[in-house]
Symmetry: C2
Subunit: 170 residues, 2 copies
Amino acid sequence: MIEPQLRVIGVIRTRYTEAEHTPIQASLNVEEAARVELDDRYAAALDGLDEFSHAWLLTWLGGTEGAPPVPPLRQVPFLLRRHPRQLGILATRGPRRPNPIGLSLVRLTAVERTVIRFLGVDMVDGTPLLDVKPYVSRLDSAAGDVRGGWFDTVDLEGPVTPAELDRPFR
Amino acid sequence: MIEPQLRVIGVIRTRYTEAEHTPIQASLNVEEAARVELDDRYAAALDGLDEFSHAWLLTWLGGTEGAPPVPPLRQVPFLLRRHPRQLGILATRGPRRPNPIGLSLVRLTAVERTVIRFLGVDMVDGTPLLDVKPYVSRLDSAAGDVRGGWFDTVDLEGPVTPAELDRPFR
């Protein structure tokens, strides 16, 4: 099988330039606004998106290399930097993954011809966009007893950057 | 920029061989079991996943071609086959997208060394696995007023296949 190849269909525009100083997790930074600039050729693909309040943005976190090397398979997540515990990368939401695809849940504020304005920013400026999927509660909410693993042991209150999680305790 | 390239890190094993007869949306087919077979080399990446009740499976829906052609940008979703309405592909969850990445929310029932057993099947047997992300309610649930666009106009009750949605009304 040929390894799957992606197309960059747009770019995310935010005020962040360095990953260490960019908030982690869009859902923890819901007040901040940013935008998607979709490539002109895909404009028609947005028809109907304005009827949704939320969407998933799938992004490429692998930089400008076509296929970055496989990262360490066990890593300490940003949120556990102060109480280090190594976890399998597929049990974390960290960006250095075998396939570095980001998944951000954002609130849509406007869908224009090729611009999507949204709230919920966890991307560096210039991050390539791979896909947009409308958020549908019935499909995207886990039902029944939900266990969040090591996330259940950490504070998930508001915006925080990796650099801030490196600060010593006071 | 070089176009991003993906790695196949495993394969999904289900009882389905044809997309038209495969249930759409994992969250609508939550009673059925299937499994992920992860490539041996990524075994360590699963450490800690067993502490989560749910996970996202990101899959490759582009077949064995490296980069399938760009599909029509407006399509009639499976769920609207009986009341056809064309929508931009980025306002649907359909599989024929500029980047054919599938996003399935599944309930984990067992995480073994390189096998993930789960409930919630919407994949054809042999579908390549790209990524696994733990589901975290705080990060993955939209808050506040949620509008589901055209999905709010359709029945989202239980398992259904594209072929079934082609049947005439009775």
